[in-house]
Structures are given as C-alpha cells and as structure tokens.
C-alpha cells in the first residue's frame, strides 16, 4: 500500500474529519453530475432520431426495396441496407476480432520487451488515429481494383478500423490480470498456450467483450470507408457478401439526409432509428450472453 501512495496523494489526517468527508461527498455529487451531463444530450439525440424516424417505420419500410429518392417515404423501404449492414458488420467482426485478440496475446504474453513487440504495440496505437476514409481508400487500392466492389471489401475496411481498438483494449485487460494466476497455472504444469487460453483470457473476458462491442458499435455507423468499397446505390438486397455492390444503413443515412426531398429524409431518419435499435440489441444480447457464460464457467 505504501508503494501506491506518493507524497502528493497522502491522506492528511490533520484536516478535520467533517471537511474530508464533505470533500468526498462533493466528489460523489460531481460524479453524478458528470453522468447527467452525458445523459442529457444523449436523450436529445435519441429524441430527435425517434421523433423524426419513428413515423417511417412500418413492416413495409423494413422489408421493402430502396426506391428512388424523390419517392415519398410510404413507398419502398430499406431492407437492402439492413441486409448489407448486418452481413458486412458480422463479417468484419469475424475477421478482426480473432486477429486482434491474438495480436494482443502475442504482445502481452509472448512478446516480452523485444523491439518488435514495442513496435507492434505502438503501431496499434497509431492505427486508432487513421481516419476512416483513409482505410477505405487503402482497401480500394489494394482490393477493390482487383476484385471489384463487394461486401467483403467493406468488411476488410471496417475490420481495419476495428482492429486497433480490439488490440488496445484487449491488451489493457490482459495486462491487468495478476501474474499470480499465471504462475499458479504454470506451477500446475500447464503449457503457456493453455494458461493463456484457459486462465488469462477468461479472467479478462468482460473487459475484452466491452472493447469488442464498442468497436462493433463504432464500425456499424461508419460511412466513409464503405463509399469506396461497397459502392452503395443498390436498390435490391445483395445476400452475397463476397461479390457485387452492396448497401448499408450508414451510407443510406448520409446520402438521404442531405437530400431536399422529404421522402428521402424520412427514410434517412427511419434508417438511423433502425440502425440504433439493431446495434443496441446486439450490444445488450452480447453482454448478457458473456456475463452468463462467465458465471457458468466459474
């Protein structure tokens, strides 16, 4: 405990107890205020989206094909965009999460303090700052030019966006797993891979899940990388995520919200509401599942 307290942070017991506990209470109030400060704009955003988008949501809206933008909001729907978003986000998660977790395991468990490890760790940090449009251009120049527009190209671009977040958050979580756990397992004769997979990862699982879910939430709302990789503009659903142009809710929102036609704007906000609902359901379900799995495995 002594090592954790530096000179500036020592408790000064000469202060009257009432002042110290008052300070503590003030801090608690500030924490609550911080929470409220964040909730209020969130409430306004959701209110805006719901009030502008809820009226568009009907069964036909969710399952119909995309009409031309002059058409009123009662014609057609956004199903092709929903399909695109679901397929592309799922594919990009499947691609990026294993690679990200493995890379974080390498950096933290196997890498030691070698130069290569430090470079990889540093580069993962740098990658978090690359603008999403550059990722899209990158995948365009190395993939789309050779293989054409496809949902896969979009998934690769979004995967590149997800990767650094997954690596960074996983690595932080792995760092926090106490060595005691590892050493105990080694003492029982487990190999390093076994230790990592059966002891370290489960201990860090809730944190890793948080990081992954946040990365998925972020990526489902990105537009710029998709413009260069899936083309958009499709009016019918494309269930083949590996070939052919595709569409996505985020692209639909961006393109239609800027249109002067009320039908297009209605579709944009309806799509925004749909995207938020889909993403929220995914996050809630994922958290429930992982917490139940964690509880079962204990």
């Amino acid at each position: 405990m002594a090592t954790a307290v530096t000179k500036q942070q020592q408790v000064d017991l000469r202060e009257p107890r009432s002042w110290r506990s008052a300070k503590s209470r003030i801090m608690t109030v500030l924490m609550v205020i911080a929470f409220v400060v964040v909730i209020i704009p969130l409430g306004f955003v959701l209110y805006t989206v719901v009030s502008k988008g809820a009226s568009a949501i009907t069964g036909r809206f969710l399952t119909g094909d995309i009409p031309f933008n002059v058409a009123p909001v009662t014609v057609g729907g956004i199903w092709p965009a929903i399909v695109g978003t679901l397929l592309i986000t799922a594919l990009c998660t499947v691609i990026a999460v294993p690679i990200g977790i493995l890379a974080a395991i390498y950096v933290n468990e196997y890498g030691g303090n070698r130069l290569l490890t430090r470079i990889i760790r540093f580069m993962a940090d740098v990658m978090t700052g690359v603008p999403s449009i550059i990722m899209g251009l990158f995948i365009f120049s190395i993939w789309v030019i050779h293989f054409g527009f496809s949902g896969l190209a979009g998934a690769l671009a979004l995967g590149c966006l997800m990767l650094p977040i997954v690596i960074r958050s996983t690595e932080e979580m792995l760092k926090l797993v106490p060595d005691v756990l590892r050493e105990a397992s080694y003492a029982l004769g487990a190999s390093k891979a076994r230790v990592t997979a059966t002891v370290v990862l489960p201990a860090a699982m809730s944190g890793i899940t948080s990081g992954v879910l946040l990365a998925v939430a972020r990526v489902s709302g990105e537009t710029a990388p998709l413009v260069f990789t899936i083309l958009g503009g499709t009016t019918t659903p494309n269930y083949n995520v590996f070939t052919g142009a595709n569409n996505a809710l985020s692209m639909l929102i961006f393109q239609n919200a800027e249109s002067p036609y009320t039908g297009a704007q209605g579709r944009a906000w309806g799509a925004a509401l749909t995207l938020i609902v889909i993403a929220l359901i995914t996050l809630v379900v994922a958290r429930l599942v992982t917490s139940r799995v964690a509880r079962l495995s204990q």
């Binding site: 470079i119 999403s132 449009i133 487990a190 938020i276």
Partner: protein, 332 residues
C-alpha cells in the same frame, strides 16, 4: 515487462514435460498464430502508410515540405497549404479530450466505487446507448439541433460577456467581424467529446474494477474517506490503463470524419477564437475527395499522411509522459 520471462515454462523446468526440452505442438502453433497476428497488424499499417504516401508524392513535389506550414488552401489556383487543417485537428482533439476525460473517469468511478452492481448494470447499458449512435447521426444532430441552440444560448452571451478581456476574450470572444458561429471549433470539440466518452468510460471502468479489494479495504481501514481512497489507491493503480483509454479516445477524436465535417464549419481559418468556423484534416479529406483529381487528390492524401505522423508524435509524447510519471512514482 519481464513477465513472460519470469513465468515461462519453456525456459525452466516448470513441468515434467519440459524435461524433454520439447514444447507441445499445440503450444508452438498457438505462439506462431499469435506472432502471425502481430506481424499482420504491422504489415497492414505499413501497407497503409506506403499506399497513402506513394499517392501523395506529387503534392510533396508541388509544394515541398513548406506546404505543411502554409495556410493558403486554394485548389482553384493550385495552392495546397495545409497548416489550417493541422491546427483545426489539434484544437478540436484537445477540446474533445479536455471535455471528455474528466467526465468519463467520473462516470467510471461512479460505476465501480459508488453504485452497487444492481444499479450499475443499467447504467452500463446507457453508456452503450451512447456508443451505438452512428457518427453521421451525431453530426446531423450537432448541425441541426445543437449548433443553433448553442450559438443562441451559450456562444453569443459568453462572447458578449468576455469581449475585450485579455485571454478569455481571445478564446471565447467574437471572431473577426464579430462572428460567433454555431458550427465551430468548439462545437466540433463538444460533439467529438460525446463520441469518445463511451470508449474512455468503458475501458476506464474495466481498469478500475481490477484494483485489488485488499488495497481498497486497507485504505478504508486507515480511516480514508471514499475520495481519499480513490486518490490514494485507485488512481495510482489504474493510471496506466486510464491513459491507454484516453489515447484510444484521442485517436478517435483525431480521426473522426463525418461528424467533424458536418459541425466544424468547413471554412479554413487559423484563429484562437473557438466560436468561429474552422476546418480539420479528416473533414477536408471527406469533403473534397469526391471531386478531386491530380495534385489536388494527392494533396488530400498527403493530409492523410500528416495525420499519421501527427498521431505518431502524439503517442510518443503521451508514452513519454506516462513513463516519466510511473518512474517517479516507483522511485517515491
């Protein structure tokens, strides 16, 4: 961190199997896979850097290195100086971090130290809700709802109040020509702050949750109040993790494209007045890429390269600060 060397069974006789000097196949495959993943990440980043830089060479040869420090961005006359965008990125990212980090850490502390698990769970979902709002919706809301409201109720009164005051007036006073604009550096900073809060909060929460209970209870046993325990135990323990979370948020703030493009005003300017319109690097790329060609396009990609370099510099500085404060702490 010599952790892996200390506890590595492959080195010492940690198990009977090690007597054969041969690690099990599964172990070696796992290690190879992990190494491959790490190298893949490195390869991707190098590829991105190479691809972007190679396409921006014609801008570098057109403007030279001085292009980074010139302010005139005029594609109609073939001028591509990018200093205004660099300035804008730095300013908006700084505002976003200053606004977001205290709030995020406060919420993380609220969730781990103050609230019981039962109350904390739904709030975690609320923070998730903050994260699932797509960036284009943040941008649209910021443009349509927040910016006009803020301009009326916050910016205009504040600007009027601090006009003429030495430092505050320069920051929050009216800009050239008395302009106080809704879409501005400050609005962009605020919207970015909202966007990076979920990830900083979530990661900080996970980090703070791993503080050993022993240390916490030890502090209480000595008579510390909750705040003193937080300052004395939680912060030193989770410092590194929180800085990691902040860096992630900072990265996002610097690279966020669509939301920034919608609310920053999109008129290039270098000015200390935070309530006036500006521009930043990702915004100019996304706004002007679709119609660009030739040197113009290569200039936009050059801006991408600069953002890379800026991220590297910021990360180096951040690591330096963290390393120095950790060293100071251990020496105490």
């Amino acid at each position: 961190m010599g952790r892996s060397q200390r506890a590595d069974p492959a080195g010492l006789a940690g198990s009977a199997r090690a007597l054969t000097q041969q690690r099990p196949l599964g172990d070696r495959i796992f290690q190879a896979l992990a190494l491959a993943a790490g190298l893949l990440v490195l390869a991707i980043l190098v590829l991105i850097a190479v691809a972007t830089t190679s396409q921006s060479t014609s801008w570098f040869s057109h403007e030279g290195i001085t292009g980074i420090f010139t302010t005139t961005w005029d594609p109609a006359h073939n001028k591509f100086g990018v200093l205004t965008f660099l300035y804008g990125t730095v300013v908006t990212a700084v505002i976003a971090v200053i606004l977001s980090v205290p709030v995020s850490v406060a919420i993380a502390l609220l969730l781990t130290e103050v609230l019981s698990y039962r109350w904390a769970r739904p709030i975690v979902y609320v923070i998730d809700l903050l994260a699932v709002v797509p960036s284009v919706v943040w941008g649209l809301w910021g443009l349509i709802v927040f910016a006009p409201w803020a301009q009326r109720t916050i910016y205009a009164p504040v600007a009027g109040a601090v006009k003429g005051v030495p430092i505050l007036g320069n920051l929050f006073g009216p800009g050239t020509g008395g302009v106080v604009s809704g879409p501005s550096f400050f609005t962009a900073g605020v919207i970015l702050a909202f966007m990076i809060t979920p990830i900083v909060t979530s990661l900080s929460r996970e980090v703070i949750a791993t503080v050993p209970v022993i240390d916490r209870e030890g502090a209480y046993a000595l008579g510390a109040t909750r705040w003193e325990m937080i300052r004395g135990v939680v912060f030193p323990h989770s410092q590194g993790g929180i800085v990691g979370a902040v860096l992630l948020g900072l990265g996002r703030a610097m690279g966020e494209t669509i939301a920034a493009a919608l609310v920053i005003g999109s008129i290039p300017a270098i000015t200390s007045h935070l309530f006036s319109t500006g521009y930043n690097m990702p915004a100019v790329i996304v706004n002007q890429f679709g119609e660009s060609s030739g040197v113009f396009r290569s200039a936009l990609l050059g801006i991408g390269v600069l953002l890379f370099v800026l991220t590297i510099i910021v990360n180096l500085i951040a690591r330096g600060i963290v390393a120095r404060s950790m060293a100071r702490q251990r020496g105490a």
